[in-house]
């Protein structure tokens, strides 16, 4: 009888072996996957088991942590002035995960980052709990406040950059939401009502929404004209008949009112926002060259700030559509951040700096573990051409459509835009304004403002009236802190 008993011994051994192999599979091979599974509450439990590190603006934390006394989560995220900072911080919820900086820099904020290993080890040896590091942003609280207050209860967004470095100074989006309200474990209702809100308060319009750029895109078209040598001088006459028929069609492109657009110089054309002049520039250059220039400004690519901004688009298109795209009224679309980048590149003498909003990552012991260095992203136009473009953008503010953005004793360049959209342009138009301010130390601020039209201002929505004052107050806020 011993032979079958020995075989049974082998069989039992195989059973145990099978268990061991399975155990190696789930505890070694699949371990990381299971550990970070989205249903694994340990991730959230760890995230809230100690006060989270803070997100810091101008030396002040805009976030905080509050003890909850709950079983799963010892701490809860709080936000100071959450509505205003939500487009920057994102949210960090015990139930609904996190987004934006809260998500991207989660490892630093919870103290799990590899670069904090030494800190953790020291803390473990000295018996202190794990601590999270801080995220220091590039934002300017005054500028952000100006942007957020300026938007008020209108629907819209503001993005402001330091053209010299690419630092994001303001990033506002309205209507907004308070991330504190969805931070806790019992906030399902608040979450649901935010999700169902047709005004999409959780949409970060400055980075994640693209709009038809309207006449503000004429700055890009003008840059393309100068860069491609179509026109060398901004003050000499262009070859612009009036009326001008869109290529391959019999439709004449209209201007807004009777403005002096026939053969107008680029300066005059931008000052009055001549559709015919820039439409023809775009048609003359062709789709390829227009697309090249737009892409040099950052179109057709997502931008990681590190929070990802959706790509602004300048698509391949037929000739009439391409001509319309030259005045920002076709299928080209841009995020507010993209248009701020356009203004910034012009203001920085043609050099486009990569926009970023995380300046430093700081360990709990205040050691800096990462310091972001400004990087040049591209050079969409030469310094010479950039200065020409600056001079005509400054004319726009001086005596053109953008006079509302004038600031005493400061050179301001800008461009208004009013973008039609919807079927047969039935939607309320978008009011745009992009601008920059210049001091002796170069340009410290470029800003883009977009306001989605509301019923009340339908007839009176020109970017100059609605958006320019907001841009002005943002620029003033930055200039004030600059001194």
């Amino acid at each position: 009888m011993n032979k079958p008993v020995r075989r049974i011994a082998i069989f039992c051994g195989l059973l145990v072996l099978a268990l061991m192999i399975r155990d190696n599979w789930i505890q070694f091979v699949q371990a990381d996957e299971l550990k970070s599974n989205k249903h694994n509450r340990r991730v959230t439990i760890a995230r809230y088991s100690q006060p989270r590190g803070n997100i810091i603006v101008d030396g002040q934390a805009v976030t905080g942590s509050q003890e909850t006394g709950g079983i799963d989560f010892k701490y809860k995220r709080t936000y100071k002035n959450g509505d205003m900072w939500a487009p920057v911080t994102g949210y960090s919820s015990q139930v609904f995960d996190a987004n934006q900086i809260e998500k991207l820099e989660d490892k630093v904020l919870t103290g799990d980052d590899d670069r904090l290993f030494f800190n953790r080890t020291v803390d473990m040896i000295t018996g202190k709990g794990k601590k999270g590091g801080d995220v220091i942003t590039t934002l300017n609280s005054k500028a952000q406040e100006a942007a957020f207050k300026g938007l008020g209860d209108k629907k819209g967004a503001v993005a402001a950059l330091d053209p010299r470095t690419g630092k994001i100074l303001a990033l506002a989006s309205t209507p907004s939401y308070d991330p504190s309200k969805i931070a806790g474990a019992q906030d399902d209702k608040a979450w649901k009502s935010l999700q169902d809100d047709k005004n999409q308060p959780m949409l970060n319009r400055a980075l994640r929404q693209t709009y038809p750029p309207g006449s503000t895109f004429k700055v890009v078209t003008a840059a393309a004209a100068l860069e491609n040598g179509l026109y060398k001088d901004v003050d000499s006459k262009t070859d612009s008949p009036l009326p001008w028929i869109l290529p391959d069609t019999r439709v004449a492109l209209e201007n807004e009112g009777s403005i002096p657009c026939k053969d107008a110089s680029l300066r005059v054309a931008l000052q009055y926002s001549c559709n015919t002049v820039f439409g023809k520039v775009s048609a003359d250059l062709g789709n390829k060259k227009m697309m090249d220039t737009a892409e040099k400004f950052g179109f057709n690519k997502p931008v990681d700030t590190p929070v990802r901004a959706v790509p602004s688009v300048y698509p391949k298109d037929n000739r009439p559509q391409n001509a319309m795209a030259g005045i920002g009224q076709a299928s080209n679309r841009a995020t507010p951040l993209q248009m701020a980048m356009v203004a910034a590149a012009v203001a920085n003498n043609g050099k486009l700096m990569e926009p970023y909003m995380v300046d430093k990552l700081r360990a709990p012991n205040l050691n800096v573990i990462e310091h972001h260095q400004p990087k040049q992203m591209n050079q969409p136009l030469s310094a010479e051409n950039a200065q020409k473009l600056q001079s005509i953008m400054e004319t726009v503010v001086e005596k053109g459509t953008g006079t509302a953005a004038q600031i005493d004793n400061v050179k301001v360049g800008g461009k208004t835009g009013t973008a039609q959209h919807g079927v047969d342009n039935s939607g309320n138009p978008y009011a745009w304004f992009i601008s920059y301010a210049k001091t002796d130390n170069g340009s410290p601020v470029a800003v883009a403002v977009v306001i989605e039209g509301s019923e009340t201002v339908r007839d009176d929505i020109a970017g100059g009236k609605l958006a320019a004052p907001i841009a002005k107050s943002v620029m003033q806020a930055v200039l004030a802190t600059e001194k």
Partner: protein, 474 residues
């Protein structure tokens, strides 16, 4: 033609068994030394849990250590007196698992997440009491059972007892989707299946010992397999049908699998016919598939096994997914005692799913160690079967160790997502009185068999015809 020549060099002293007339060492001191480890390691674990969870030495450490030490000491002394030649590993291994199980149950008692659950009661104290009862039964078996062969006399009584134990739960209300409990109001409930395992093994061993020749020899050869005669198929069909009945009426996949598996193993050992294994596998496959076509409970278990993470979508029980995540989060070395979150499993975290806590807090290393300990118990049991001198002892020891191995596989495999979850308890570790008491009895029987097996055979009486056997060379 030459006459058949005997093998010329056949040594006449070949020792084919582990038994010899020379006094085998009793190994009782080895057992004592191992027991010291088996008590000390859980004590360190206990202290570790207290330090990790409350930052101080747990106040119950002394009581716990003395309790476990006392149990081990009593067990050892009784073995020394009543089963002097018993296998030295079985008692320490069982004590170790019992001790570690108690620590995990106590650790889960501290979990605020479990305390917040309805119907949760701290169970460490009860479990310690049940462990003591288990040791008491262990002692009783060793003292009262002079020789395991006595059990052979109770073959058919065992059958009746096993039937009663298995059928009884059908008349009691189902708990948590399975009818495997006998509930006595005011006293609590017992899980008779755990005891039935041992009683049934006695019945199978006794029955097969008598019938093995008929089952083994009277058969026809068909396609390379020896097919048993129709009437010899009776018993296996009866056991099979019974397993299916258990599965249908008690919705208890694990017990059903365990009994059928044990029977096939013992049948194979008794008859040495591989065909029985083939039959057994076929029949369990047919039975399982047939039942799962109409038994909703079984279907649910299979679905939960195949798609554990669907639970988060359709709101069914997420236990398996939680257990898998506990294992995964433990990684190679684990979080350390008291620092995991295996309590997220919720219901049955300290019984069926207790291995997940080992997985999370002690890591891959810890689970491998625990599985090795289980494997060692099984292999010591099989070793006992090899050494046993009587077929009844061989069959009983194989049956008990085989059942133990299958139970460990079914539970651990279910918790780790290797096979569908069946709802059995991890022997010795899991919270539950019936389980720990029954398994101590199982170890006692194995120890008794091994004692008989390893006991030095009495010096053979001079055989009257010893001189008459002669090798005749041509």
């Amino acid at each position: 033609m030459s006459p058949i020549s005997p093998m010329p060099n056949m040594p006449n002293t070949t020792n084919t068994t582990t038994i010899s007339t020379e006094g085998a060492p009793s190994r009782r001191n080895t057992e004592l030394a191992l027991l010291a480890f088996a008590v000390l390691i859980p004590c360190f674990a206990y202290a570790n849990v207290g330090l990790a969870m409350d930052g101080e030495m747990p106040s119950g450490l002394l009581g716990y250590g003395m309790g476990l030490g006392l149990m081990a000491g009593v067990g050892h002394l009784v073995v020394r007196k009543f089963a002097k030649y018993a296998d030295p590993l079985l008692l320490p291994l069982a004590t170790f698992l019992n001790g570690i199980g108690l620590v995990i149950i106590w650790r889960l008692d501290q979990s605020p997440r479990l305390q917040a659950r309805k119907f949760f009661t701290a169970s460490a104290t009860n479990q310690l009491m049940f462990s003591a009862l288990g040791i008491a039964l262990f002692v009783a078996v060793l003292v009262l059972l002079k020789d395991h062969r006595i059990l052979q006399r109770y073959t058919y009584i065992s059958m009746v007892a096993a039937l009663i134990l298995l059928v009884a739960p059908m008349f009691f209300p189902a708990k948590f989707g399975a009818r495997i409990w006998i509930t006595i109001p005011g006293l609590g409930s017992i899980q008779p299946g755990e005891f039935a395992k041992i009683v049934l093994a006695i019945f199978f061993a006794g029955y097969l010992m008598v019938k093995r020749d008929a089952l083994a020899l009277a058969s026809r050869r068909f396609m390379g397999l020896y097919l048993p005669r129709g009437r010899d198929l009776g018993p296996i069909l009866a056991v099979w049908a019974f397993s299916i009945l258990i599965l249908v009426f008690e919705t208890d996949l694990g017990t059903s699998l365990l009994f059928f598996g044990m029977f096939v193993v013992m049948l194979y050992v008794a008859t040495e016919r591989t065909s029985w294994i083939v039959f057994g596998l076929l029949m369990s496959a047919v039975g399982a598939v047939a039942v799962s076509t109409f038994e909703h409970h079984v279907q649910e278990r299979v679905t939960a096994w195949l798609h554990p993470f669907d639970a988060f979508k359709d709101g069914s029980s997420d236990q398996i997914a939680q257990a898998l995540m506990a294992f995964g989060s433990g990684g190679v070395f684990g979080t350390g005692w008291g620092q995991g979150h295996s309590d997220l499993i919720g219901f049955a975290a300290n019984s069926d799913f207790i291995l997940a806590t080992v997985g999370e807090e002690l890591g891959l290393a810890g689970v491998m160690a625990i599985l090795l300990v289980y494997g060692l118990i099984v292999e010591r049991g099989v070793r006992t079967a090899l050494a046993a001198r009587d077929p009844f002892g061989k069959l009983l020891a194989t049956g008990l160790s085989g059942a133990f191995a299958i139970q460990v596989f079914v539970v651990a495999g279910g918790v780790m997502g290797l096979i569908p979850l069946t709802g059995m308890t991890m022997p010795f570790m899991a919270q539950g009185g019936s389980s720990v008491i029954a398994n101590w009895a199982l170890i006692a029987v194995l120890i008794k068999i091994s004692d008989t097996a390893r006991r030095p055979a009495p010096a053979p009486a001079p055989s009257p015809d010893a001189e008459m056997t002669q090798v005749v060379r041509p």
